[in-house]
Symmetry: C2
Subunit: 196 residues, 2 copies
DNA sequence: GTCTATAAAGAGATAGAC
DNA sequence: GTCTATCTCTTTATAGAC
């Protein structure tokens, strides 16, 4: 199973290179405020040359960027459950502090995609649902293992944890000196019998 | 001290009416994705007719909208301190649930204004600073009255409370069934000796 | 105070040459 | 695979009539 060669390989490389550049530019201005031409210039091409690689136009380009990033992020939590999964959330928060671009991309996009007319609206709603469900499951597993406080509703708690994470990112992006990982750790701890 | 009359009065009314419409439209798409023409149509004017009332163009219009909203919001917390101020935060969260427009305006704008190049960048940074300072002061007052847990740093806690509030708003806008006021109440409670 | 007309810039998309 | 050229639409802003 060797990778593509010759012309195909060249095209795939180019595509990856474009996605990388698009990620940078989208990260600064979100989707709407960013032009394809801006991305094309960043990668040393013209607008038309770039769009040749993305049949669905600007939107297909954004989706390619999001797919690429989502895949990278899923690995940290792969196969973890219960308290171990919750600890993974803290690790992710810690890693975020070194990745302003990713944080900014998702923060700006998930806010502008709040509008049901936004092309990425469904993508972000589903993404939040997926995360919320996974955290809920981890809290339920923790409860079954006797590690959750008695008065905690897993779903409500999961949404609060997600909210805290997103909110801290917003403040951090605005230049505030917050320790995202530590604050998340403390907050998750308020739901547990033994702190993390 | 009667208000303006005749022609002046008419102009001031028109201005207020435009600000109201601009608020609605900005609330749906943020600043960048919204055109002046869209707002003009909403108020039954042309783009040029509208801009006649706002010398600084589109940006002056946004600033007028934000000024108008900020003034309305300040009243709830006016003159309150300590635990009473913290209770005010919960009242505000409760009120938000009936004002999707305001929440959406501030959520989208504070995310897109994360970019230092954004015209409203300074406005939002300063707004967050102001809120963070006020909450920090309220927590310090609560500590001086013996109501704060011993290991709580007021500034860190204030930022977490602000983060939680913003994050809950984002989830709520995305259609999640969160009880913003209740979740904020519970979270502030984790810092206090007696819950609110 | 509001309009029409228009300028000047920039967007995304397509056709077709090489 | 990438380009130039071009279309069409939309943006903000200005000039000037009424």
């Amino acid at each position: 199973m060797a990778g593509p060669r010759g012309e195909y390989r060249k095209s795939a490389d180019r595509r990856a290179q474009i996605i990388e550049a698009a990620f940078d530019v989208f990260s600064r201005g979100g989707y709407t405020a960013t032009s394809v031409n801006e991305i094309a210039r960043a990668v040393g091409m013209t607008q038309t040359g770039l769009l040749h690689h993305f049949a669905g136009g600007k939107l297909a380009l954004l989706e390619a960027v999001l797919d690429s990033r989502d895949k990278k992020a899923e690995n940290t939590l792969e196969g973890r459950t219960g308290r171990d999964f919750l600890a993974g959330l803290i690790e992710i928060s810690r890693a975020q502090a070194g990745q302003r671009g990713v944080v900014q991309l998702y923060t700006i996009l998930s806010a502008e995609a709040t509008d049901p007319e936004h092309p990425a609206h469904d993508h972000f709603r589903e993404r939040f649902e997926r995360i919320a469900d996974a955290v809920t499951a981890a809290l339920e597993e923790t409860r079954d293992a006797g590690g959750l406080r008695a008065d905690v509703d897993p779903r409500t708690a999961a949404l609060s944890i997600l909210a805290m994470t997103e909110g801290l990112e917003l403040l951090w992006l605005n230049g505030f000196d917050v320790d995202m990982a530590e604050d998340v750790r403390r907050f998750i701890g308020t739901y547990l019998i033994d702190p993390l």
